[in-house]
Every structure is written in C-alpha cells, then in structure tokens.
C-alpha cells in the first residue's frame, strides 16, 4: 500500500527528536484521526540550519514528517514556505488516497514552526 520511499522514511525516519531552545516550534493535530506532529527549527540568517520532528501517527504521518525535514534543511525560510503538502507526498512517490490528508500535517507543521519563529523574532 505504501511506496518504497514511504517505507524507507517510515523505517528510518530522518531527524527525529527535539531541538533544545528551538527558534521555532510548530505543532498541528489532525482532528480527524487524532494524530499530532511537532516540528522544531533552528534558523540562522533566514536559513534553516537544523530541523527535527516528533510525530504520533500512522506510517504516512511519520514518513511525511521525515521527508519534510529532509526537504527543508539548508533551505531559506521563503523557500521552505513554498513547500506544499502535495510536494511532500510527491517526494514520497505518492500516498494511498485514504492517507492523503496525513500529508497535510507535515507541510502545515513546518509552516507553523516558521510562523512561530517569525513571531518570536518580531518581539
């Protein structure tokens, strides 16, 4: 049901964990199925220097979390903001139709983390 890429990211998720004193933290919950994803950012000069995640969710949720962290590491914030849920799913060679809503979590959590960083910096 899952692609090889999904299973690879599920089996060996990249960037699991927390960042102490993160510059930005984003959390989204999937109201539909009760899952939660949290993304931590370390930002320097508008560049994402480090990113980590923690996720309580299905295989797709974990794989998209892992994939999105890989996709944004080293990117500028504005580049990162352009990553869509669709792009994450595509990077994983697709998700089962019933699971497409899971891929929303990953990009959303990332954007939340960026927003958090911007707000904190704004203070």
């Amino acid at each position: 049901m899952y692609t090889e890429k999904v299973m690879d990211h599920f089996t060996n998720p990249r960037n699991v964990g927390e960042i102490k004193n993160a510059d930005g933290i984003g959390e989204v919950g999937n109201a539909k199925c009760g899952d939660i994803m949290r993304i931590y950012l370390k930002v320097e000069n508008d560049i994402i220097e480090d990113v980590k995640f923690k996720t309580f969710g299905c295989g797709a949720a974990i794989a998209t979390s892992s994939m999105v962290t890989e996709m944004v590491k080293g990117k500028t914030l504005s580049e990162a903001l352009q990553i869509s849920n669709q792009a994450v799913a595509e990077a994983l060679d697709g998700l089962p139709p019933a699971k497409m809503h899971c891929s929303n979590l990953a990009a959303d959590a990332l954007h939340e983390a960026i927003k958090d960083y911007i707000q904190k910096r704004g203070k």
Binding site: M7, F10, T11, P13, V16, E18, E27, K32, C33, G34, D35, I36, M37, R38, K54, T55, F56, G57, C58, G59, A60, A61, I62, A98, C102
Partner: protein
Amino acid sequence: MKRIYFDHSATTPVDPEVATLMLEYMTDKFGNPSSIHSFGREVKKAVDQARQSVADLIGANPNEIFFTSGGTEADNLALKGVAYANRKKGNHIITTAIEHHAILHTCEYLEKQGFSITYLPVDENAMVRLEDVKNAITDQTILISVMFANNEVGTIQPIKEIGQLAREKGIYFHTDAVQAVGNYPIDVNEYNVDLLTLSAHKFHGPKGIGALYVRRGVRLEAQQQGGGQERSIRPGTENTPGIIGLGKAAEIAKRDMNTKIAQVARLRDKLIAGIEAKIPHIKLNGHRTMRAPGNVNFSFLYVEGESLLLNLDLKGIAASSGSACTSGSLDPSHVLLAMGLTHEVAHGSLRISLGRGNTEEEIDYCLEVLPGIIEKLRSMSPLYGT
C-alpha cells in the same frame, strides 16, 4: 524471513484437508446439486453431509442450517429477515454498541426503514449488563441480537442468560457467533439461541461461505430471490465447494475443540503475562477471564496503532489494530470507545489473535521484539513525556 501469523480473528488459513476436499468438488465432482443426473446427485449428497456436520458443531438440526455467502450476509438475513417477517408484532430491536459492522450498519439501515433500535452500552470490559437488556425490552421488541465473542477485545457475553430472558419474554434471540463457532464450544439449545451466525473462514474453512442457524418455527423473510435453493430462504446456485469445505472444517473443529482451546489459551496467557511484565504504560482491553481463547488486545499509550503494525510487519509479525489510521474511517474502533477508552488510548491498540498453528517460539519472538518497537515509537511521540 519467517512470517508469523497473529491475526486469526481477521481470517485463518484453510485446513489442507479442507482445501483438498474442495479441490475435488471443483474439478471432478463439479455438478449442480439441483440437477437430477449423477453429476448432480453425488454433490447433493455431499452438501447434505456438510449440513449435518455444521448442525452437529452447534447442536442443531440440519434443516435449521441455511448456507450464506458468509457472516455478513447471515447477519443481514437474521436482522432484516426477522424484522420484516415480524413487523406486525413490533418494530423494536435490541443490540449492543460493540457489534460488528455487519450488525451495526444493518441496524442503521433498519432505522431508516422505520425500526427503532436500542444499542446497549457495555462496561469497561466490553461486557453487556443483563440488567440493561431487561430494561430495554418493550412490548414492541421483536428481536435481541448480541454477539457471542467480540472480534476486537474477545469478551464473551452472557449469552445463555440473555437467551433465557428473551425466551421468557417471547422475543427472538440472535447471536453473531462468527468469532466463536469452531473456536469455542457452542450449543444452540444450551445457550437458548434462536438464530446464530457463523462464518467458515474464522475456523480454517474457506472464505465466502457461512451459515445462519434458524430455530424451527422462527419467522424469517428471505432477503434474496431466485431459484428455490436453501428452501427459498437463500436462493442462488449453491457454493458447493464452499459448503463442503465448511462442513469438513466444522467436523475438524468439533473433533479438536478441547485440545485446541487449551493450547491456544495457554499461549494467550503467556503472551499477556509477558507483555504486562515487559512493557509499561499499557492497558489490557477486554475481560480478563471471559475472553476468547485466542484474543490478546492491549493499548500501548503514546503509540499509534498503524505504525505499530507496520513495525511488527517489518519483523515478520502480522497483527491488527483498532486505530483510526488503520480502519480508513476517521474514528478509532467503536468497540474501544464504547468501553470508555479515550481517542488517544484507543489509537494505540494492538490485537494479536492466536490460532492452532501458533507456537511457543512465536510468542517468545514477539515478546522479544515488541518492547523495542514500542520504545522506538514512544521516543518519536510528542505525547510521551521526555
């Protein structure tokens, strides 16, 4: 990699003896039992024999057995068949909140047709309270349907007592015994049952065949029209290899019942004890003693079921979960919720259902890999306190 099958509540492998017999009735003795020539007659005889074997397994009379395409159809036939045939007597049906969807969704359908349904709650062990049954009965009640053993958490209901209550009130009593028949000793007379659903693929018979037991005298309306097969209660060319396979599976189940239960329950108890000893933050779901011999169901807090299943699968272990993510629906198991579990806890449930082919080594292996998987997932979980 060696694969371990721990999902016998979902389905079981067909017994090789059953499969071999079915093969014979596919390629060689392939006639239509309604035909009067020799090709038909030889099959008719085997179908009669199978009906007898199924009847024997549950203490029924062969002419009280009606073959269907499986448990789902038998459940539909039981509920709709009794509802429509007894509409003049009343329009109220009592069932429980933890039935299989074959019952629940049929009840919802009947609600749209003007029937009124009471869904009884259960206690924290998924047990129906006799008192609740009693209180739900009205003078409009025509049918009570309570499952024998729950497919998720294995709880075995007080069927005999509910049956007695129903009989005293002159109300038909149906039990969805799909998880129990062939795996647990059942006698329709001892248990005061008027209608009973069974399905072959849950006890090493083939998929696509089941039966409805209907006590002589029960008024039931056919839900399918066609040729006169199954005394017009369930027309359609008979699935003869399926029927004959079910008959053989019933024969084997009856023969091996006691040894099988003892063996499976021992493994079950070992696994439950092992998990409870090795893994913290868990909850055994279902009743501790009134429990199907092969059922193990735990919630692992801070863990999501599908991830758990996939990790087990990667280690060669096949199990099941009541997580919303697995079900494709948006809510976790209605059974776990009815027992009072929160969404999060229900989410982390794992069902391991054992069968006669499982071994002690497999239990040991499972106890070896499971703690690591749980630990890994918890370490990824934002819910798990660091």
